[in-house]
């Protein structure tokens, strides 16, 4: 006799292709409800934050609640910069997707809809802090004022690429800009960030580390190892989870299981954790500021789930129309981060539709100009000559004999 009472479950997204987008299962608390906890918040006390959602911008674009007061003195500069950073990121994505389609580069990944997360976060960090990012956080570089020539050089693997063409496009490394070398292997950076932060504490350098991971990759062993290490040793590390609802074609429910939120999962490791509207630029900025201050005071790690939506395809190799409804992204109940900040700035009298359109055009033009200049150094369509011998450099500090022999065999 087989027992069919005992059955497995298989999580499903609320809607599939051909159906209407459906986000009715997502509870969105009102903006401004949650207060700002003390910097020494513990895991137990973080329960409402881990299960709730910190929001500043309400549906009409007003900044409301205690977190709206937590943005520092000069919110105007903060917002102007933020809007510019996000528009720049979106322009880069747009230009590079086109370039990829034209065969100028092998691969590209956009972060459409997630711009606020990295852009708002990075501006709250301090020089010398180190991000351990994934491929979806080019925003951290943009908001660190990383030179676009280097960024595009990396996309095109030409002589402006600081990584000598060794890495897949988008897998940057920029030590001087607080950006750890990106690995293609998911999850590995998360626990490394914890180690970096332990070194921050041991050396007393007053810097911190920030770990980044996608919702899907929280399944990796390294995510869990990182949380445990952070919980045990209490280093100054901000443990970010960017929950954009998808891992390629796989719905986020396959990574959460029956847990309520990713923040709640981190809280389960004894790490105080908060969940934040990631499409709300001001909420991201406020929470990042709070988290950075907590690190400075030595109150230990904090987990943050940034709740957002991956509007674009996973990568240039992916076509989401095969697994989710068309226009799913447009129906995301927490809107678009750029639109929301814009609406708020207009309401405050700081901005207008005309100026926005102007800024958008100007930034796109700037980005396009850089792109053209960098393309003159070579793309996949007109490849620059590679330096084959470079393959053997940096495998070790000193080249062992067997590599020297191989280089000679290659003819160099």
């Amino acid at each position: 006799m087989t027992d069919r009472k005992v059955k497995l479950t298989y999580p499903h997204p609320p809607a599939r292709p051909g159906e209407d987008p459906d986000f009715s299962g997502i509870t969105i608390p009102e903006a401004g409800l949650l207060d700002v906890p003390p910097l020494d918040l513990d895991a137990r006390g973080s329960r409402p934050y881990a299960n709730g959602l910190i929001r500043v911008l309400d549906d009409d674009g007003n900044a409301v609640g205690p977190w709206a007061e937590y943005l520092g003195e000069d919110t105007e500069t903060l917002m102007r910069r933020g809007l510019r950073d996000m528009l720049r990121m979106r322009a880069i994505d747009r230009r590079m997707m086109t370039a990829q389609r034209q065969g100028k580069t092998s691969f590209y990944m956009q972060c459409t809809g997630e711009e606020a997360v990295g852009c708002a976060f990075q501006r709250q960090m301090e020089p010398g802090d180190m991000n351990f990012p994934t491929y979806r956080q080019q925003t951290l570089l943009v908001a660190a004022d990383y030179p676009l020539e280097m960024m595009f050089g990396q996309f095109y693997s030409n002589d402006l690429d600081p990584l000598n063409g060794r890495q897949l496009p988008v897998l940057h490394s920029a030590r001087d800009f607080g950006f750890f070398t990106i690995s293609g292997n998911l999850g590995t950076q998360y626990v490394q960030a914890v180690g970096w932060a332990m070194a921050n504490a041991l050396s007393g350098d007053r810097k911190i580390a920030t770990a980044w991971i996608g919702d899907g990759a929280t399944a990796s062993n390294d995510f869990h190892g990182a949380l445990l290490m952070a919980s045990v040793y209490q280093p100054p590390v901000i443990l970010n989870v960017v929950n954009n609802q998808w891992a390629i074609s796989t719905y986020t429910g396959v990574a959460t299981g029956k847990a309520r939120t990713y923040a709640a999962r981190m809280r389960g490791y004894g790490i105080p954790s908060l969940r934040v509207d990631g499409n709300d630029f001001l909420a991201v900025a406020a929470v990042a500021r709070w988290a950075r201050r907590r690190m400075r005071e030595g109150f230990g790690p904090v987990g943050v789930e940034w709740f957002t939506y991956r509007v674009a395809a996973h990568s240039s190799s992916d076509d989401p129309s095969a697994y989710r409804p068309k226009d799913d992204g447009a129906a995301w109940p927490l809107g678009d981060p750029i639109e929301r900040l814009k609406t708020h700035m207009i309401a405050k009298g700081l901005w207008s539709e005309e100026r926005h359109a102007q800024a958008q055009a100007q930034i796109l033009d700037e980005v396009t100009q850089v792109q053209k200049r960098v393309e003159a150094h070579g793309t996949l369509v007109n490849p620059p000559p590679t330096n084959p011998a470079d393959i053997f450099k940096d495998v070790y500090a000193e080249m062992p004999d067997h590599l020297r022999r191989q280089r000679q065999e290659m003819g160099y």
Partner: protein, 334 residues
């Protein structure tokens, strides 16, 4: 049929014939795999037989081992061979040894499929060839098909095998043979006889190599993508070489290899993986042990350089036909 379709067909046949076969992995269920190898199978067999998993290779393989020990026959996918490392503990310390350490009480009839190799501008984390990391481990079988016909027959044989099988699929061959010239026009399997795949059930036995080109001057040992690159090199050179597609690295078909090398007296070994401690080293050892007195020249190896797989310098790294041709000429000089 493409190799993708052939693999899908193999899993379809296995799922149909044996209710204990289950297929799972990242993006494998609803979407049908990032390379589309399992497309349509969930729709046909339901979620209990074909499903999506969390992104944890160790959990995928670990759970598959549990199922296999219980009596099921899981055929799981690791999205790229480059991502098998989190599962390496489960594969090498567990799957490989259940039978031995339990004195046969528990066994592990498990297949782990993974796309392998380069040639697609995938950079260091979408291009690796880790076969030697598996052949080095007692208890595992390692298969590398080079064409759709073999891919289907070998995968069915692997699923029916009583022991764990690592099934490495050269991703550069998914849609057509690749002769090593990336600037040339891509060829589809439709125009290649080896893309002609029989319907229904058939097995290609594990542990049997195939002579893809007969010749008398030198033996070329290759597998996966390198079979075609070697054939191209042989053609370009006009040398009367015999090309052997190993198909299964472990168990190795030494008989076919020895017969050929005894005839030709010379041997060139080709693989994409890095050279040092690569599978080529094992082949050299076996060949010299068995054929020492027949050898006329030192055995040559053409392999990936001992460095991480680069993005922009991919074609400087990839062991192309020119390098193979040079090696062929070198062994013939002696």
């Amino acid at each position: 049929m493409t190799m993708i379709e052939a693999l899908r067909d193999a899993m379809d046949v296995a799922l149909e014939r044996d209710p204990s076969v289950v297929v799972f992995g990242e993006d494998v269920g609803y979407f049908g795999g990032v390379f589309r190898c399992t497309a349509g199978l969930q729709e046909k067999y339901g979620e209990e037989r074909v499903f999506d998993t969390p992104i944890s290779e160790s959990a995928i393989v670990g759970a598959a081992i549990g199922m296999a020990a219980h009596g099921m026959r899981p055929c799981v996918e690791v999205q790229f061979a480059d991502y098998m490392y989190p599962a390496y503990d489960q594969i090498t310390q567990e799957a490989a040894r259940l039978r031995h350490r339990s004195n046969g009480q528990f066994t592990c009839p498990l297949v782990i499929r993974m796309p392998t190799g380069g040639g697609i501008y995938g950079g260091q984390t979408h291009s690796q060839s880790p076969e030697a990391l598996f052949t080095h481990v007692a208890g595992l079988k390692t298969v590398v098909p080079s064409n759709p016909q073999d891919a289907k027959g070998l995968l069915i044989a692997a699923i029916e095998d009583p022991d764990p099988v690592i099934f490495l699929e050269p991703k550069r061959l998914y849609n057509g043979p690749f002769h090593g010239d990336h600037t040339g026009k891509s060829v589809s399997w439709a125009s290649d006889a080896r893309g002609d795949v029989r319907e229904g059930y058939y097995k290609t036995p594990l542990g049997k190599a195939r002579v893809t080109r007969e010749g008398a001057a030198v033996t070329v040992l290759a597998y996966g993508t390198m079979v075609y690159v070697a054939e191209a090199a042989v053609q370009n050179s006009g040398i009367d070489a015999e090309v052997i597609d190993l198909r299964t690295l472990l168990p190795l078909d030494l008989e076919t290899i020895v017969t050929s090398v005894e005839k030709t007296g010379r041997c060139v070994i080709v693989h994409e993986a890095t050279k040092t401690s690569g599978f080529g080293a094992e082949l050299i050892a076996e060949v010299q042990e068995a054929c020492f007195y027949h050898l006329e020249a030192p055995i040559e190896r053409v392999c990936g350089w001992d460095a991480p797989y680069p993005h922009a310098q991919e074609w400087d790294y990839f062991p192309g036909p020119d390098r193979i041709e040079r090696a062929l000429r070198k062994v013939l000089e002696v």
